[in-house]
């Protein structure tokens, strides 16, 4: 297996190549406003660093959010287009699952919740059991209205000082790739390449026609 993974659902623009055993190369750059510019050059760079030809890839894994929409779509449409052009299957991964996997890999034990910044004073969040299984979420809520348990990770947890908040702040594609490889090896299906928006589009219906003559 040669899997290309990337994620644009958090402020990080991150990509990695995984050979089924380990991460061969990884890139991670925090620049929330430049997902569009940075993603493709980042993908090209990690393949170069890994010494992998794009034609030899076997799979693509992409973070499907939740995350701010404009950046999120850059990753999803890139995955869909690369999958089509290179003839590769595209596996969706909940970005919060990848952050949880990374936190456990870095030594966090026990149950915890992952929360990222959803803007508008809300967090995207999900909670996980000690064995890593997702217990609830993903959901979008105000931080004061959630019960995240005793430990939390992610930029949203740090921003709103949720219980025992710690890093990792954003997702790294190496962890996302590793999560995808393990799930596939365990015979568990990943997600379709479709965004986890969690909110309806912002759209106001105009309050009818406004008169121009004074009342």
């Amino acid at each position: 297996m040669l899997l290309l993974a990337f994620d644009t659902a958090t402020p990080a623009v991150t990509a990695a190549v995984h050979d089924g055993e380990r991460v061969l190369a990884e890139s991670y750059e925090v620049d929330a406003r430049r997902h569009g510019e940075l993603l493709l050059p980042t993908v090209a760079a990690v393949l170069r660093t890994a010494g992998v030809d794009k034609r030899d890839l076997t799979d693509i894994a992409v973070g499907v959010g939740p995350g701010p929409y404009t950046g999120l779509r850059v990753g999803l449409v890139t995955a869909a287009a690369l999958g089509d052009a290179l003839g590769l299957p595209v596996h969706g991964v909940c970005t919060l699952d990848a952050i949880a996997h990374q936190a456990r890999t870095e030594g966090l034990d026990g149950p915890f919740a992952v929360a990222t910044d959803a803007r508008r004073k809300e967090v995207y969040w999900a909670s996980y059991a000690a064995d890593g299984a997702r217990l609830s979420g993903p959901a979008v809520d105000r931080p004061a209205e959630i019960e995240p348990g005793e430990r939390t990770v992610g930029a949203g947890a740090l921003l709103y000082a949720l219980p025992a908040a710690s890093g990792p702040e954003h997702v790294s594609a190496g962890a996302l790739a590793d999560f995808a490889v393990r799930e596939l090896a365990a015979g568990r299906a990943l997600l379709p390449n479709a965004p986890l928006y969690l909110r309806r589009p912002d759209a106001q219906v105009p309050a009818g026609y406004k008169a121009v003559l004074p009342a």
Binding site: K54, L82, Y197, V205
Partner: protein, 362 residues
């Protein structure tokens, strides 16, 4: 003509996901997925709804265009995409997709200007553009008079609307009359039953001393609303067809008069009209009469090529390949306010540095 460049073009600047494929100046496929019905109840294009629709439609629309054209992606000589102007989030979907295809297939990428594409599309209908060409672009997003001596490198703005776009005025008048969204086609249809001379609506920026090539439709729109409201208040029926026809007459009168004047002043004997409003039957008719009288050759693409589509982007991309213009680099950004003078977005540095960057990305 097998040596003419085969180019795929992607357009996502507003609410149409368009993918076109052309060979030189020959149209092979023009696939469009529109989200217009999802916006209708909001009375205008909702950016987030448009962006979501682009993401869903992107790859299927590309597949459909390739199937229709009967070509393989590997046969393409380049991939062009609207880099701007337009809705930022919507543009970004197309730009990201174009980059991914270009990189995966080892094809040059051309980020091109939406307005220049609207002009260039006429090559698919009427052959190569004369140089120079005067262009009147009128749609829900733009109203401009542009002079181009080379569509890949030189587009000069002579004038533009100072307030509403012409298409916006159609939408607003349709709303005043309770005709729904989008307003262009329905106002055109109603106007056919009405008298364009029934009501003397004002012509914006039409006095001596006003900018010769700029437009203003805000005053006209308000005048129509006042007229209709006064009628309703007086308890009199509103002659919808006459209002539509008289409004449409005012818009087309100003547009065609200024366009013909721009041709005469600049010694240009060709006028092309593009953009969604170019589908308006009265505009086409009046422009033909006035151009005939002035000895100007009028070129208007068929309505399907006037509205936003991928074929126009492919047409300009093919011209970029044909004229050996520098491709864009893979850090190309979507620029919601890309100036019309920037016909395309070449990579940061041309020549050796560019070649190096291109090489490094393989």
């Amino acid at each position: 003509m097998a040596d003419e460049p085969l180019v795929l073009g992607i357009e996502t600047s507003c609410d149409e996901t368009g993918v076109g494929i052309v060979r030189g100046t020959t149209l092979l496929a023009d696939a469009v997925a529109s989200s217009v019905n999802d916006h209708a109840r909001f009375g205008g294009v909702v950016p987030e709804i448009a962006s979501r629709a682009h993401l869903e439609a992107m790859v299927p629309t590309i597949r459909r265009a390739l199937d229709t054209a009967g070509v393989r992606a590997s046969d393409l000589d380049g991939i062009a995409v609207t880099a701007g102007p337009g809705l930022a989030g919507a543009l970004l979907v197309g730009v990201s997709a174009a980059k991914a295809y270009a990189w995966a297939l080892d094809k040059p990428l051309y980020g091109v200007n939406h307005l220049a594409s609207h002009i260039c599309v006429d090559q698919l209908e009427h052959g190569r553009l004369p140089e120079p060409t005067m262009a009147l672009l009128v749609s829900g997003g733009h109203s401009s008079l542009l002079l181009s001596s080379d569509i890949t490198s030189d587009v000069r703005p002579l004038g533009a609307t100072i307030d509403d776009a012409a298409g916006e005025a159609f939408d607003k008048v349709a709303r005043v009359l309770g005709l729904g969204f989008p307003g262009g086609p329905v106002v055109d249809r109603m106007a056919r039953e009405g008298d364009g001379k029934a009501i003397a609506f004002p012509r914006g920026l039409n006095n001596a001393g006003d900018p010769a090539y700029d437009f203003s439709f805000s005053g006209l729109k308000t005048a129509v609303a006042r007229w209709v409201e006064a009628r309703r208040r007086a308890g009199e029926p509103v002659p919808v067809a006459d209002v539509a026809a008289s409004f449409q007459e005012a818009v087309t009168d100003v547009l065609t008069r200024k366009a013909v004047r721009a041709c005469k002043d600049n010694g240009v004997d060709h006028l092309m009209i593009g953009g969604g409003v170019a589908a308006n039957s009265r505009l086409r008719e009046m422009a033909q009469q006035r151009c005939d009288k002035a000895g100007i050759v009028l070129r208007v693409p068929r309505p399907g090529l006037c509205t936003d589509n991928g074929a126009m982007v492919a047409a300009l991309g093919a011209e970029m390949v044909w004229r050996d213009r520098a491709p864009s680099s893979f850090d190309l950004s979507a620029d919601s306010s890309l100036p019309v003078t920037e016909t395309h977005v070449p990579g940061a540095e041309h020549g050796s540095v560019h070649a190096h960057a291109h090489e490094a990305l393989k």
